[in-house]
Amino acid sequence: MQNNGKVVLHINFRSGAMNVIYMLLAISIIVAIIFFTAFIVSVKNGQYDDAYTPSVRMLFEDELVKDDSSKKENKQNQLNKSQKV
């Protein structure tokens, strides 16, 4: 920690508090900058371009019926049939 030598010499009992201030300031600004960068990066990646769809998407459960072999066959037939229609 950078510290003012004069201050340490004169008021010894405060030196701890002062170190804490510098440290806290540094930490708070670093944390703030980390969040700020995260924000900028997420905007850049287009995370805020569509603010609606994810809110719906997260409510979907995996409601898909499990594929069993008989249905699979049926499905292929169906698709082929309707492709011709």
Binding site: D50, T53, L59, E63, L64, K66, Q83
Partner: protein, 798 residues
């Protein structure tokens, strides 16, 4: 659930629904979609939202153009042979079921790796493996499940548009700096003068330098990055000798920054960095709020988003090939299928052309053309396939030439002076005057304080609240209108709408409806037997006029005809027992008597004796005439129609007296008409719907496009209005006028704050803490006032 509702699309199933799996379906198309979903485990689709589907409409060969690799290359976003990415606009996307099923496309076809829906934009981005599923197969699959994408010439060469997010970045920087500066300036707020003893004072003495320089560091990007738009705009304004509202804002920002920097350098005080960052943050917040965008609408469309991307060309050796629309040259032989659009002007060679020009010229009824007739780009072929020879290329066609007009190059909103700007001018002059008078006074009284007072006046008078009044009022109005299906391009459109004194209307599709047509019978009354035969004969015909007439006639018992003939382009004939009936054109039913009429009519003869005719009238929108009546009290009105004069006498009766009516107007005529009104100093509102109004919409002060379905094409304009809201048009104009009054009231409110602030500034007692309280307080109260007032206004709207 209503038993008669189609389980898939929610339409009325009519009298003969299809039963399948204990559910009703209105048609086989809907049933097929249900089967596809049920066989692939996608039935959750119906649980999310009932009746969410759309009836699939597949036209054979519609997507043949996707076989051409050159076109696929242009449409896809990414293509490396193993993977293709395509972003498709699907107008039907409207609910959570749609999102769910479109994001589970890989269940329908395993070659689709993933798909992602952007709901506000109504687009889906699909990643797929082209070796096992081609783009054509993919799009046919979507069309088969009722999610047909809309592909137009506009998509051609339309790679991913760059998104401008700079405002969000600027807002982020300003907000970040504002928070931190506020936090750093708090200690000095509590360092009240007079308490010079004690630990807090000592503590502050040690750290204030650090705190102040940190605040300075946070403020630099706010001034030079976040605030750069204001500085640039003010500089541009000054250079062209205009005092816009950005001039006092820029002065405020710069004075705040320079004075604060000097203060901390010479240890005069803590500076006003808190007010500075707060000011820029609030201003940008206003700008952000003003930018309400409807991502699913486009206000910049031209003919390209209406025209197809490719068309079938018949090569000299008789082979059909896909040709990109831009590649069509004079002399090419083209094949136009049923429901396809004619892309270029040309001459009809083969086939029965029945062309719907309503969107292009305003003619309300489809026209018949025979071989050798000239046909124009933009028309839609309605029955069967035709062959034509191209006469011009796409951009030189009769209709598309309109876009060469200079109206489409310069944007009228660039030169429009907003209310805020006109106030800004007077405001700047008076603030500068006060600042100089106060400085001169202090120079004689106490010259040490003169500079302090001069800067304090400029700081406190910074019109933050004034600059916020308009974005918040109009931004909120924009949202209120949007909720009522009146979508405006930007806030300037509201300001211009408030100034309108003349309203010009198009006829076809604007004041008339597209779907319904009313008909009245003229002639000898029909006997019950004849009526029954008429209805039953019409039942067999698929012609649009027959369908309309059929729906209109009273219910009759269904009888089986002995004989039924359809003569294409002429009429139909039906017989039962010993009587027969002929329905169709005047020549077909051998009508040589009676007057000719411009309106579409269907003639009827029974047993070779002429009976009479059904004359079709345009069906006007509900409430149109009441709307015209109220509007005529304050606004000048006129009707400009591309249609013939068939409806003239009827309109004259129904509209307010002396409303000018103009018929047979070309797109250029309409544009010139608006221009001539503007030259007389009128502020013109143009209401139209089709491509033929595009020039007039662009030229007018406010151009509003009426649309039955806002998701489909509408020409470039300032606002898009849902057709169901048409009768509210005048209310919306009045509401815009009231919104401008709210802005003026907000100006007065913010001026009151300025007076209080100026008192502190002129008397030389402006403390940073006072500025830091007054500025946000005035901004917030103006924002709250504007929002509350517009919400009140919005509640009164229907």
């Amino acid at each position: 659930m209503n038993t008669n509702e189609c389980y898939h699309c929610g339409d009325d199933c009519g009298t003969s629904p299809i039963y399948h799996d204990e559910k009703h379906f209105c048609c086989n198309g809907c049933k097929t979609v249900y089967e596809i979903f049920s066989n692939n485990g996608l039935l959750y689709y119906y649980d999310l939202q009932s009746n969410a589907g759309a009836t699939p409409k597949t036209v054979e060969g519609k997507y043949d153009f996707l076989d051409s690799t050159a076109i696929v290359e242009k449409l896809t976003e990414f293509n490396d042979g193993n993977l293709q990415v395509v972003n498709l606009y699907i107008p039907h996307i409207h609910c959570s079921s749609c999102i769910w099923v479109l994001e589970n496309l890989n269940k329908l076809n395993p070659s689709i790796s993933s798909s992602l829906v952007d709901f506000p934009k109504k687009t889906v981005r699909i990643l797929y493996k082209p070796e096992s599923v081609s783009l054509k197969n993919l799009i046919t699959l979507l069309a088969r499940i009722g999610y047909e994408p809309y592909i137009s010439l506009d998509d051609f060469d339309n790679k991913k548009k760059p998104v401008n997010r700079s405002l969000i970045y600027k807002l982020g920087v300003a907000g970040f700096a504002f928070g931190n500066v506020m936090f750093l300036s708090f200690p000095e707020y509590f360092d009240l003068p007079g308490i010079k003893t004690g630990a807090s004072d000592y503590w502050l003495e040690q750290y204030k330098e650090l705190f102040r320089w940190l605040m300075f560091a946070f403020s630099v990007p706010v001034v030079y990055y976040s605030g750069q738009d204001y500085l640039i705009s003010a500089y541009k304004g000054l250079r062209s000798r205009i005092l816009n509202i950005d001039v006092p804002i820029a002065i405020g920002i710069l004075v705040l920054f320079i004075r604060s920097t000097l203060e901390i350098i010479f240890d005069w005080g803590s500076g006003f960095f808190d007010s500075l960052t707060g000011l820029v943050f609030f201003l940008l917040l206003g700008k952000f709020f003003q930018q309400k965008t409807y991502s699913f609408l486009s206000f910049e469309r031209d003919y390209k988003s209406y025209f197809p991307i490719a068309v079938t060309r018949i090569s000299p050796n008789g082979k059909e090939e896909v040709a990109q629309v831009y590649d069509i040259k004079q002399g090419d032989r083209l094949l136009i299928r049923n429901q396809e659009l004619i892309p270029v002007d040309g001459i009809l060679i083969n086939g029965n052309a029945r062309i719907d020009y309503s969107f292009v010229t305003g003619e309300s009824e489809p026209v018949y053309k025979v071989s050798g007739d000239k046909i124009f780009a933009g028309g839609k072929q309605l029955t069967g396939a035709i062959e034509m020879d191209a006469l011009k290329s796409v951009s030189q066609s009769y209709l598309t030439q309109l876009w060469g007009n200079t109206v489409f190059q310069n944007n009228p909103s660039d030169t429009f002076q907003t209310l805020t700007d006109s106030i800004g001018k007077r405001f700047t002059v008076s603030v500068l005057a006060i600042a100089f008078v106060a400085t001169v006074f202090w120079l004689f009284y106490d010259s040490a304080k003169a500079l302090n007072v001069f800067t304090a006046v400029l700081i406190i008078a910074c019109p933050c609240a004034i600059a916020l009044a308009s974005p918040f009022t109009l931004g909120n109005m924009l949202r209120i209108f949007g909720r009522r299906k009146f979508y405006l391009k930007d806030t300037r459109a509201i300001e211009r709408l408030a100034q309108v004194d003349t309203a010009i209307f198009d006829k076809t599709g604007t004041i008339t409806t597209v779907q319904k047509s009313a008909a009245s019978y003229e002639g000898m009354p029909l006997t019950p037997a004849e009526e029954s035969l008429l209805k039953n004969t019409l039942r067999a015909s698929n012609h649009p006029l027959s369908r309309t007439l059929y729906d209109m006639l009273s219910e009759q018992n269904i009888i089986t005809l002995d004989e039924y003939e359809e003569h294409l382009g002429k009429g139909i004939k039906g017989s039962k027992d010993n009587s027969h009936i002929k329905i169709g054109s005047a020549d077909f039913v051998e009508n040589h008597q009676g007057s000719k009429t411009l309106n579409t009519s269907v003639h009827i003869s029974s047993n070779d004796a002429y009976k009479g005719k059904y004359v079709f009238h345009n069906q006007y929108r509900e409430g149109v005439f009441e709307l015209f009546k109220t509007m005529s009290e304050t606004l000048g009105l006129a009707i400009l129609s591309g249609d013939n004069e068939g409806e003239k006498s009827r309109l004259e009766k129904l509209l307010p007296k002396l409303t000018p009516l103009f018929f047979n107007q070309t797109p250029e005529n309409k544009l010139e008409f608006i221009k001539s009104l503007q030259d007389q100093g009128k502020k013109v509102l143009m209401v139209g719907d089709g491509l033929n109004d595009a020039g007039a919409l662009a030229q007018s002060d406010v151009g509003i496009a009426i649309s039955e379905n806002v998701n489909v094409f509408s020409p470039a304009c300032d606002g898009i209005m849902d057709a169901s809201k048409f009768q509210q048009l005048y209310q919306y104009i009045v509401a815009s006028k009231k919104a401008m009054k709210i802005i003026k009231m907000s100006f007065i409110l913010s001026l009151l704050y300025n007076v209080v602030g100026l008192y502190f500034a002129v008397t030389g007692q402006l403390q940073p803490v006072i500025a830091a309280i007054l500025m946000p307080l005035s901004s917030i109260s103006v924002v709250v006032f504007a929002t509350l007032m517009t919400n009140l206004l919005g509640r009164k709207l229907q």
